[in-house]
C-alpha cells in the first residue's frame, strides 16, 4: 500500500520536474548503517531547484543522517549524492562553494561573538574582508541580532543561535541551503524572522531544503515535500501530490508513516469511561 503510494508519487514528481536545469539535489541508493542499526536504507531522492523543500518525518526517521551525507559532513556507506549537478564526494570544490548548511546538534565556534563568527566564516569562504563586513552588517540587522552582535555566541539563546547559524550559512550567497530543524526551540518572533528571510531568499531562485516534524509549518512554507520514515523515503513530490486525497498534510503524513490506525481498537477504552 505504502510502496504503491511511493511509486505513484515518485512518477508524478518525475513528470513535474523540469529536465532542463539539473535538480538541486539528486540522491541515488544512499545507505548508512551505525553498527546493527540502519539509519538510512537506500534512498533515492530528486529535489528540484528553486523550490522551498521540506524533508519531513518522525524523530529517528534518518533526516539528520541524510542531510549530513548530502552536505558532505558524513560519509555514506553506499550511494551517490549530487548537488547542482556535481558529485559531493568527488567534486567537493564545486559543491562546498554552492551550499550553505545549518546542522542540528553540532556546535558553532561559540567563543566568538556573533559578528566575529560571521567575519570568520565569510573570510574562510574566501570573501574579501570589506564585503564580509557589509553582508554581516545587513544580515545582523535583518535577523534582529545587531544588539547582540558583540556578545559571545555561547551566551546566545536557542533562537539567536539558529539565527546566527542561518546568517553564517547565507553569507556566501549559496545556491542551495540545507537547514536541519531550523525552527526547533525557536520562539515565534524569531521563527517569523527566519521565515521571512528564507522566503525572500527562495524568491531569488535559490533552493531551500529543510527538515522538520511540524507539519503545519511545512504545509505553509513548502512547495515540495519528501516524507521519510524508518530510513526510507515514503513519498516525494509537490505539496498537493504528497497530500493527495487527505484533508491535511498531517493526515497524509500519518497514513504514509503507518501511524494512522494506532488510536483504534479497544486499547484505552476505559479512558474517559464511567468513573
Amino acid at each position: 500500500m505504502q510502496d504503491r503510494a511511493e511509486t505513484d508519487r515518485a512518477a508524478r514528481a518525475g513528470e513535474a520536474g523540469r529536465p532542463a536545469t539539473p535538480p538541486a539535489v539528486r540522491v541515488q541508493g544512499l545507505w548508512k548503517r551505525f553498527g546493527q542499526q540502519t539509519a538510512v536504507a537506500g534512498i533515492d531522492l530528486e529535489l528540484p531547484a528553486g523550490k522551498f523543500i521540506g524533508l519531513v518525518g518522525p524523530n529517528g526517521a534518518g533526516k539528520t543522517t541524510t542531510l549530513s551525507m548530502v552536505t558532505g559532513l558524513l560519509r555514506p556507506d553506499q550511494g551517490t549524492v549530487e548537488v547542482a549537478g556535481h558529485d559531493v564526494w568527488r567534486d567537493p570544490v564545486e559543491v562546498k562553494s554552492r551550499i550553505g548548511v545549518l546542522p542540528e546538534g553540532l556546535r558553532l565556534f561559540e567563543r566568538l561573538s556573533g559578528r566575529e563568527l560571521l567575519a570568520y566564516t565569510g573570510r574562510l569562504r574566501g570573501l574579501p574582508g570589506a564585503e564580509v563586513d557589509k553582508r554581516a552588517t545587513q544580515l545582523l540587522d535583518v535577523l534582529d541580532l545587531a544588539g547582540a552582535q558583540h556578545k559571545l555566541v555561547v551566551d546566545y539563546s536557542t533562537g539567536m543561535r539558529k539565527k546566527i547559524g542561518l546568517a553564517a550559512a547565507l553569507l556566501h550567497n549559496p545556491e542551495v541551503l540545507f537547514l536541519d530543524e531550523p525552527f526547533e526551540g525557536v520562539d515565534p518572533v524569531s521563527a517569523q524572522t527566519i521565515r521571512e528571510v528564507l522566503e525572500r531568499y527562495t524568491r531569488s531562485g535559490a533552493t531551500v531544503v529543510f527538515s522538520s516534524h511540524v507539519m503545519e509549518l511545512v504545509e505553509s512554507l513548502c512547495d515540495w515535500v519528501a516524507v521519510m520514515a524508518a530510513g526510507s523515503i515514503r513519498a516525494q513530490g509537490t505539496l498537493d501530490q504528497v497530500r493527495g486525497e487527505a484533508s491535511s498534510l498531517q493526515n497524509a503524513f500519518l497514513e504514509l508513516v503507518g501511524a494512522g490506525s494506532r488510536t483504534g481498537g479497544d486499547s484505552l477504552d476505559w479512558l474517559g469511561g464511567k468513573r
Binding site: T71, G72, L73, L74, R75, P92, V93, V95, K96, S97, I99, V101, P103, G105, L106, R107, L108, F109, E110, R111, L112, R115, E116, A119, Y120, T121, R123, L124, R125, G126, G129, D133, A136, T137, Q138, L140, D141, D144, L145, A146, G147, Q149, L152, V154, D155, A168
Partner: protein, 548 residues
C-alpha cells in the same frame, strides 16, 4: 516586603525558634545523606571507602601531630598546616560548586526564615560530614602538639572548635558570595580553570618540599610561620603555642583575631545570603534598554595585522580561543607555566641543565596535537570550507603559525632565562637550536596526529580531557607523537653530541641556525603530509571530535 522580613511569629513550627531550626537542618542533612546512600550500592561503597580513607588519614595525622609534641618547630608546622587547611576550605566551593543541597540558599527562598537563625542553622548543618570531622581531628592534633601547661590547655580547648568553625564559615561565605558566579557561564569557565590551579600548585608544592629537604628540615618553615601565625584561623592555633610559651598577651590577641574573623565572616555570609534570597537573578534576562542597535563595523585591530586569505581568520580564531575558551586557556596556561617552572626552578636549585629549557618547546608543542578536537563539533564549519588538500594545508599552517606566534618567543625566553640563571651563556645557542628543532618536530607530528587520531575534548569539568572510549586514541596520539618528535630531532641531537665529542666546540653556535632551519623544514614536511589526510578524512574527523 521580602520573605526575610516576614514576622517570625507568622511561621508555624520549628522555624520560629533558633534551636528548633538547627535541629531541622541537621536532620535534613542527615536524611539527605542517608537517602543519597540508599540510591545505589556503588555509591554506598564509594562513600564508606572515602569515610574510612579520610578517617585513616585523619587518625594518622592526629597521631603524627601528637608525636610532634616537644619538637622545637612543632609550632611553625601546625600553624602552616592550619593555614593550608583554611586555604583548602576556601577554594573547595570553587571546585565543587554543587556540593551540598541543604546549604543551597535558592532552595530556601520560599521559606519564612529570618537571616540570623538561618545562618546558625546552616552553620550547624555544615558541621555534619566527613570534611568537618577530618578538620576537627587535624585541629585537635594541632593544639595537642603545641599545648603545654594549664594556660595552653585552656587556649587549646577554645582554639580547636574555633578553627573548625572558622574553616566551615569560610567555605560557606565564599560559596554563598559566589553562588551567582558559580551558576553562571563565567563561573563554570572559572571552574574549568581550577584544574590548572591544582597542576601549577602541585609543582610549587613539589619544589617547596624539595627546598625543605635541602635547607635543613622544618627550620625552613619558621619565616613563613611567623606571618601565618597572625592570620586566622591559624592564629587560633598560634595562640595555643603562645600561651604555652607564657606569652599570654600575644596569645589573647591571636585568639581574638580569630574570633573577630569568625564574626566578620558570619556577617559577610549573612549579608550575601540576604542579598541572594531577596534580589532577583538578572543574568539571563535580555537587556530592557533600546533593543535595536544598528550593526556597526567590525573594529578588530588584530585582523588588520594578520595575513589575508585563509591564514588570517584561522590564526585570529585560534588566538581568540586561547584567550576565551576555558579548556584551551587552561591547557595553554598550564603549558606556559610548567614549561617555565621546570627548567628555571631546577636551575635555581643548581640541579638544572640548560637542556631542560627544551621542556618548554615540548610542553607548548603538545598544543598542536588534536587541533580539531579543540574545535569540538564546531569543526563542521571548518570542514565545509575545506575542499582540497591545499585548503587543509592552509588551515593547518595557519594553526601552526598562531601557535608559533606564542611558542617561538616563549621558547627563546625560557632558554635565555635558564641560561642566565645557570650563568651558562656558552651553551645558549645550541640549547636554543635544539629547542627550535624539537618545536618543529612537535608541530610536524602534532599535525599528523591531528589528522590521524582526532578525539573529543568534553567541554565541562576541569579534569575530563578525553571523551569516554577515546582515551586510548589520545595516548597513542600524544605519546607516539612525542616519541616520533624526539626521533625526528635525532639528526640535530647527533650533530650536537658529535661536536662535543670531537672537541669542535667553537662550531656549536652553528646549531642555532641549523636547529631553526631543521625545525622549519620538518614542520613544513609534517604539514604537507598531514594536509591530504585531513582533506580526505573530514567526515571521520568530525565524527571523532563530536562525542564531547
Amino acid at each position: 516586603m521580602s520573605v526575610l522580613d516576614a514576622p517570625v511569629g507568622a511561621a508555624p513550627g520549628p522555624a520560629g525558634t533558633g534551636e528548633g531550626l538547627v535541629g531541622v537542618f541537621v536532620r535534613l542533612k542527615l536524611t539527605l545523606l542517608r537517602n543519597g546512600l540508599r540510591q545505589s550500592a556503588g555509591r554506598r561503597a564509594a562513600y564508606i571507602t572515602s569515610v574510612v580513607f579520610a578517617l585513616l588519614i585523619a587518625a594518622s595525622q592526629l597521631l603524627g601531630l601528637i608525636l610532634m609534641r616537644g619538637n622545637a618547630h612543632a609550632g611553625a608546622l601546625v600553624v602552616l598546616l592550619t593555614g593550608v587547611l583554611a586555604v583548602g576550605w576556601t577554594v573547595m566551593p570553587l571546585f565543587f560548586p554543587s556540593g551540598d543541597e541543604t546549604l543551597d540558599p535558592s532552595r530556601l527562598v520560599m521559606l519564612p526564615l529570618r537571616p540570623r537563625p538561618l545562618i546558625a542553622a546552616l552553620l550547624a548543618a555544615s558541621l555534619v560530614g566527613i570534611g568537618p570531622l577530618f578538620t576537627l581531628c587535624l585541629a585537635a592534633g594541632s593544639v595537642v602538639a603545641v599545648a603545654h601547661g594549664a594556660a595552653g590547655a585552656v587556649f587549646a580547648v577554645v582554639a580547636a572548635p574555633l578553627t573548625l568553625l572558622l574553616c566551615v564559615a569560610l567555605t560557606r561565605a565564599v560559596a554563598t558570595a559566589n553562588t551567582r558566579l558559580l551558576t553562571s557561564r563565567k563561573g563554570r569557565d572559572l571552574a574549568v580553570l581550577s584544574g590548572l590551579v591544582i597542576a601549577v600548585g602541585l609543582q610549587v608544592v613539589n619544589f617547596g618540599a624539595q627546598r625543605i629537604g635541602q635547607a635543613g628540615g622544618l627550620a625552613a618553615l619558621e619565616p613563613a610561620a611567623d606571618v601565618v601565625r597572625w592570620l586566622p584561623p591559624a592564629s587560633a592555633v598560634g595562640a595555643v603555642d603562645s600561651a604555652s610559651r607564657g606569652a599570654y598577651g600575644q596569645a589573647l590577641v591571636q585568639l581574638l583575631l580569630s574570633v573577630a574573623a569568625l564574626v566578620a565572616l558570619l556577617w559577610l555570609w549573612q549579608r550575601s545570603l540576604v542579598k541572594l534570597m531577596t534580589a532577583p537573578d538578572g543574568s539571563t534576562l535580555a537587556a530592557a534598554g533600546p533593543g535595536r542597535e544598528k550593526a556597526g563595523k567590525d573594529g578588530s585591530r588584530l585582523s588588520a595585522l594578520l595575513p589575508q586569505g585563509r591564514t588570517g581568520p584561522v590564526m585570529e580564531r585560534s588566538l581568540r580561543y586561547i584567550a576565551r575558551d576555558p579548556k584551551t586557556k587552561a591547557a595553554w596556561v598550564t603549558a606556559l607555566a610548567i614549561g617555565l617552572i621546570v627548567p628555571v626552578l631546577n636551575a635555581l636549585q643548581g640541579t638544572g641543565s640548560i637542556y631542560f629549557a627544551c621542556f618548554a618547546a615540548w610542553m607548548l608543542g603538545i598544543q598542536m596535537y588534536n587541533q580539531f578536537g579543540q574545535d569540538t563539533s564546531a569543526f563542521w564549519m571548518v570542514a565545509l570550507t575545506i575542499s582540497s588538500p591545499r585548503d587543509a594545508y592552509l588551515e593547518l599552517r595557519a594553526r601552526a603559525l598562531a601557535l608559533l606566534l606564542i611558542t617561538l618567543p616563549y621558547t627563546a625566553l625560557v632558554t635565555v632565562v635558564t641560561a642566565g640563571v645557570l650563568g651558562d651563556w656558552g651553551d645558549l645557542p645550541e640549547a636554543m637550536g635544539l629547542s627550535f628543532a624539537l618545536l618543529g618536530g612537535m608541530l610536524a607530528t602534532g599535525a599528523m596526529a591531528s589528522a590521524h587520531f582526532p578525539y573529543s575534548i568534553p567541554q565541562d569539568g576541569a579534569f575530563k580531557n578525553v571523551a569516554p572510549g577515546q582515551a586510548g586514541l589520545a595516548w597513542i596520539s600524544i605519546f607516539g607523537g612525542m616519541v616520533s618528535a624526539g626521533l625526528l630531532c635525532a639528526p640535530v641531537i647527533a650533530v650536537t653530541i658529535w661536536l662535543h665529542l670531537a672537541d669542535l666546540e667553537q662550531w656549536l653556535w652553528l646549531l642555532l641556525p641549523v636547529g631553526a632551519a631543521y625545525g622549519a623544514l620538518i614542520s613544513w614536511a609534517g604539514l604537507r603530509l598531514a594536509a591530504p589526510r585531513t582533506a580526505d578524512r573530514l567526515p571521520e574527523i568530525l565524527t571523532a571530535v563530536s562525542k564531547g
